[in-house]
Amino acid sequence: MKLLYFAWLRTRIGCGEEEIDVPAEVATVADLLRWLEGRGDGYAAALARPDLVRVAVNQEFASAETPVTAGDEVALFPPVTGG
């Protein structure tokens, strides 16, 4: 699975992009966020405020229930602030 991190999620996790082999039991966005939190302090800090984390699966906004699979591009980022 290709994971992308933006803005302060990127700076807290310490990288902008990584390829990860995610365990088979990770079936949804919610599963993925829970599993990522256990990967280390940077991840835990980045994901500590779930209300401030937005997710896109294959470049489409996703919810906690959105399914994820090995070939997906999943992006994590804070609420957008452009314009």
Partner: protein
Amino acid sequence: MASRVQEEDFDVGAEIGALTRGRTEIGGVAVFIGVVRDFIEDGTEKAPAEIRGMTLEHYPGMTEKMLSRIEEEANSRWPLLGSLIVHRVGRLDPGDNIVLVVCAAAHREDALQACSFLIDWLKTKAPFWKSEQTAQGEKWVKAKESDDALAARWEEG
């Protein structure tokens, strides 16, 4: 209909001219230009902090897709004769242009409403993030609830 993400500045007059030149069915053109302000207006700060610059990050691929989709939505809601979104990314200074929205229509009210809609949706649906440089260091800009409220005006149902 066109949208672009770019580091370079844009020339407002040239962009409007390119969209409208020779199009004599156009009666009104509404334009919005977002500019880097030199103070932070964070409701929690006592005094506004001076901004020395700003960096705009985005999600290449998804950004372009969302901009096109927002623009399609505006074109489906109002009878536009032309529309343009240009959004800058990278390092910007106070006074620099950030975003340009142009909507042309036969009637002024369609152009004005579509322009207002585009900037409201862009602010809440397009994956851009700002970090501001102040004397206290660099800080990610927080999303504003007022932006959600402005965008919600255009939700249907």
